[in-house]
């Protein structure tokens, strides 16, 4: 445990931990991960901590072990894209504090570096998403022509998604439009006689939009009895899936593709 002289005050630690938790939760971490990391750091500084996790806010009450004065801090969950890089590096930071390798001032500096330096190469991500979705097409039995069509449809759809999110357009509208565009481009194999599995191309052209991480996190939260966050994440994921389906159905109707 870090000595009391070099330890921060409950107010300082509460402020730091609430920001830490807000970033961790916003980056796509589960509630149990947030709880474990925050408790680990608080114990290293000889403090007790109580955490209230809500879908869009995080409240932390910090007090020194065995004392009465409590500092309470509230932070809004950061609205950032899912980033496993941030989650990994923030977890490493919590271990560095718990092991006593860094002091509080260094921890704050490192935290600022982690949240400010997460720059993903947009072009690389775009190409990787297209490649992954084309691989999904192959997994579902698509031939080379279908894979190429799905790859191009994903490239265009994901590019459109990036542009619209940068412009601050509502995420639900973004999902509908991207699914519509990708499904129309995915139907190229039906419109022109390319390949032998054009319907697989249409079906898999929108898979990159499936909100997998919110679904997984909601089940994890459910298992750990964080029911409010679980239902909130599940509702978010269901709404996005509904938007995706609406866009896909719109695309299929426009391209006159029979659904059943």
């Amino acid at each position: 445990m870090i000595s009391e002289a070099s330890a921060p005050s409950p107010e300082e630690l509460g402020c730091f931990l609430s920001q830490y938790g807000a970033w961790l939760l916003g980056s796509g971490s589960t509630c149990i991960r947030v709880e474990k990391n925050i408790n680990r750091m608080a114990q290293a500084f000889g403090m007790d901590v109580e955490i209230t996790l809500l879908p869009r806010h995080l409240q932390i009450a910090v007090c020194r072990c065995g004392r009465d004065s409590v500092a309470t801090c509230l932070s809004a969950v950061c609205q950032t894209p899912t980033s496993f890089n941030i989650i990994t590096r923030l977890s490493e930071l919590s271990w560095a504090i718990a092991d006593g390798r860094i002091d509080f001032a260094t921890a704050k500096q490192r935290f600022d570096q982690i949240v400010c330096s997460d720059r993903q190469n947009k072009t690389a991500v775009l190409l990787m998403v297209a490649l992954a979705n084309a691989s999904f097409c192959r997994l579902f039995g698509g031939d080379a022509a279908a894979m190429a069509i799905v790859g191009i449809a994903t490239l265009c759809g994901y590019f459109l998604k990036t542009v619209m999110i940068e412009r601050g357009i509502d995420i639900r509208a973004v999902f509908i439009i991207c699914a519509l565009v990708s499904s129309i481009l995915g139907a190229t194999g039906i419109l022109f006689p390319y390949g032998s599995t054009p319907y697989i191309a249409v079906a898999t052209s929108v898979l990159y939009l499936v909100p997998g991480i919110p679904f997984l996190n909601s089940f994890s939260d459910l298992l750990h009895r964080h029911y409010i966050c679980a239902f909130s994440r599940f509702a978010d994921a269901v709404i996005l899936t509904g938007c995706l389906s609406a866009g896909l159905c719109g695309g299929m109707l426009l391209m006159k593709i029979g659904m059943f």
Partner: protein, 66 residues
């Protein structure tokens, strides 16, 4: 022309326009810093050896007056 083909053509056209509008300013801003594989160089650049003075004269011809 049938409806699906018109829809497909419009979608592809819009995506292409968006792509051009998005990439063109980026391309123009990076033109000055572009690494050229082939280019017509000046005489000064061709005969420059390390240690020569840098742009001492306002001429593109190489001048070895020391």
């Amino acid at each position: 022309m049938e409806t699906p083909l018109i829809v497909w053509c419009c979608t592809v056209g819009l995506i292409l326009i968006l792509l051009i509008l998005r990439l063109m300013p980026h391309h123009i801003s990076n033109r000055k810093h572009r690494i050229r594989i082939f280019e017509i160089g000046t005489e000064r650049e061709e005969f420059f050896v390390p240690g020569d003075s840098l742009q001492k004269y306002d001429t593109i011809d190489y001048n070895d007056d020391f």
